[in-house]
Symmetry: C3
Subunit: 360 residues, 3 copies
């Protein structure tokens, strides 16, 4: 999008009143529509009134013309913002972080991963070069249970050597994935097998540990969730979401997509949900949830002895924090990184923005 | 300030011994003087002695000339540092974060906010373009009580549309302030009314949620404090300070001012004070208090189940952390962001620096 | 290192199979070798196989040539990575953070510090200009006991004035080290004496508080550890390490050295160790330990009421966090800042990387 595209005729079009109802009717996800519609019904207190004529200093013909120009510019900006909001959740090719079902061989859960170069669409029309596991950014979500025997077979179809580090998993040193310390690098065209018992539960990650600034930056990363044998009462939830924050070559993303192509988190009023925050980028991202608070229950998979509440959670590179949210406030709630340049430009919201939709 | 202004004659002036007593006599705030004077009386252990002649390698006439040149350069630098310290707390036009008394209408606390462009002086002579609520950066401090019905009337006199998000307040979705999700944008010249019950107590914020990188960056932000119905024992204090950290278009500021124009926090020996840290910028700011520790009691308004002590508190964008300090160590204590380039240059302290003055 | 140095003949040399055993035999630290050897014995699950011929699309003669070129490039990159790993721990001139024994005068522990310009080798062949206490970056480690009377005599042989702030120590204001607030600056050639009782135990720091962005950035910093009179049970350990993170003029360093010149932390299987993390830089550094978790027990020297476990610890400038590690997983474990550009480039690991070696 560029300002030069805003010709006079475009602005004229943009200035036509946009029907809120049509915006909602056109929205592609029923769940979201329901949430927003709820929000709109609940808005009796808004009493907008136009008062341009009473703006201080707006008393002359020239000032009125000035006010009209200001209004036209504001309308043009707002139209860009509206278009991005209206596009949410936008369709793009590819979906990352999908649960990968293992095959079972002699009681071992076996996951096959193939690393290769792909094109990845982060938002409609924005296609970047990525290096991916199984064609996904983030790579497929691996889910096992505490005590499971796990085998990961990596096929390297990249033009560089690689390796996988299982970030947070306490496994034998030889399976740790650090070239020239615990294994040789896996050359282009080679396959390599990791095998271990998932000894510690929690929200963990896997990613390249070779030329990692580039390889992780390009997308070689994913979630590795180990369910506990004995879940805590606090972690019994209706829905369980993974949210991988990133700021690599694909820009500011949540689960590999930028707003408006991010996926909304949809829950029902009264649901108890869990969000597993993971940061695979190079910057902090303080995630802010509107309308409800989060209770932080684990750090790096380890239960916090004193879970605490917040609405803004600073997630640093390598961190995993799990939060519980009691969805007791209906509506569509913005949910975004509070470093504002990671979330909004003068063209509207982008990057690390999604919504928690609490449906009535 | 530029180094080229340091002509030989300037240096000569700067080299005149500066009377510590005169520095104190000239200081503009009695409170501060009392603190510093205390500090000076308490300094018997300092035994400075000049030992240039015994510096290793300083044995020749040429070296003595070299040492004199080094000393002159050091004195010139120190004079710049001293001038900035001496100027603290410097007077500037405007004061942000002032408590705004509501008017009461039918039991509702009504706050009127007008957003408009202003000039804002961050330190003496440094005047920046700002967008402000009621002519203040940060905007006026709004204080209500848990359970209060609150109405905020926003008058938009900006050249852009805007909105207000009540960051941390758990209110109905329609009052959440996100254009095209919960409300239309508020156009230039329009007014808009928000109304809700302040359901959750704590240190919260309000700020623009439209074109927010720019609008919050320019100053459209403020503190929104909700006093609890039942205060905890730990939060009974003698003084209650708000400290809004920012790194927007006005540079590195505390409550909208850069050192030496920041306001010192003044307490009496034995006082128990509360500081409400809020970050409205785009970077972390680890605030370091000299001389005493802080006990961190709440995060985003929510009581921490296990308050902890520290002297350096990392505050991320969107965060609010409340700290209690037992003022048991008399003196003037530096209090600053510990990212040193946010606090000191070769011209002296600037930016995110203030002092906690504990008066005897 | 530059890519242009990789001539064809270099690549040929690099392509020779590197014996893992020779790599280990050449390693200079027996402790490390033992750890790595253990790791290698424990690696039965790795089943690398070359499969270039079966890479998708690799079916033609031209493709085979392409695959060979890719492999050659990968081998060249891997050789650079291997060389850096193999060099660890590399010898460099100078060692920072060495414990300085005080002399006792009338029951007072007296430390003499001399600040001067030095050359400092951060990794083999990389020599930077530094400003140092006693010729070390970080400066010597000062260790006293809670309640001790302490005297620090600073000799300033720098070309600038300076001062020392005792970061985290609760001492009388006059000893706080802030020029023009608590003392005059210490001029080039002068000496200055600080004296106080170490009232609060914990992991603290000392550093310049004058022109500090430059002076601390150049190396005028160190650890100041105050042992408690009554240690907590949780802090009884077999080994006690200090790890000062920095990103100043010497680049990304741990205790003043960049990988591969960083020092490994060596422990025995079953050891309980303590790591005192301190950040004297200007950025956050989330330190990630492979293979085992850490229990965080203190913040800025103050016991946490609810110690928590993690594998990634975000350390902000000015922060000190103490961690306990139960060394129950044998091997050589990577331990590094998880902002990957602080730890690895396409030439291999560098900067804020070391290893925890758990010997069997």
């Amino acid at each position: 999008m560029s300002d030069s595209s805003l010709t006079d005729s475009n602005i004229a079009v943009l200035e036509q009143p946009t029907s809120r109802r049509r915006f909602l009717r056109d929205a592609s996800v029923t769940a979201l529509v329901a949430g927003v519609a709820t929000a709109c019904k609940a808005a009796p207190a808004q009493r907008a009134r136009t008062a341009v004529a009473t703006m201080p200093g707006v008393t002359q013909a020239g000032d009125v013309a000035g006010a009209a120009a200001i209004r036209a510019a504001a309308d043009a900006m707002d139209a860009m913002h509206e278009a991005r909001m209206k596009a949410f959740p936008a369709k793009t090719a590819g979906k990352g972080c999908q649960v990968l079902d293992p095959r079972i061989e002699d009681g071992v859960k076996v996951f096959e991963l193939t690393a290769r170069k792909i094109k990845w669409e982060t938002e409609p029309g924005t296609i970047v070069d990525a290096w991916a596991y199984n064609g996904q950014v983030p790579g497929p979500q691996l889910r096992v249970r505490e005590g499971d025997r796990v085998r990961i077979v990596l096929h390297n179809q990249l033009p560089e050597s690689t390796s996988i580090h299982f970030h947070g998993l306490e496994i034998p040193n030889a399976q740790d994935g650090v070239p020239f310390v615990t294994q040789p690098p896996i050359k282009p065209g080679q396959s390599y097998t990791y095998e271990f018992t998932a000894a510690n539960s929690g929200s963990h990650m896997y990613h390249s540990h070779h030329d990692s600034t580039k390889q992780v930056g390009l997308g070689l990363l994913g979630a590795f969730i180990v369910a506990p044998k004995q879940p805590m009462a606090i972690e019994r939830v209706d829905k369980d979401f993974v949210l991988i924050l990133n700021d690599g070559m694909g820009g500011y993303t949540l689960n590999g997509k930028s707003f408006p192509a991010t996926e909304p988190l949809v829950a029902k009023l009264g649901d108890r949900i869990r969000i597993r925050f993971m940061n695979e980028g190079t910057m902090i991202h303080p995630m802010h949830l509107h309308g409800m608070h989060m209770t932080i229950i684990t750090k790096d998979g380890w239960p916090l002895p004193a879970p605490y509440r917040c609405d803004t959670l600073n997630v640093a590179p390598g961190d995993r924090w799990d939060a519980i949210i009691e969805c007791n406030n209906p509506g569509t709630w913005a949910f975004h990184c509070h470093i504002l340049p990671h979330a909004e430009s003068d063209h509207g919201m982008f990057g690390m923005v999604t919504a928690l939709v609490v449906q009535q």
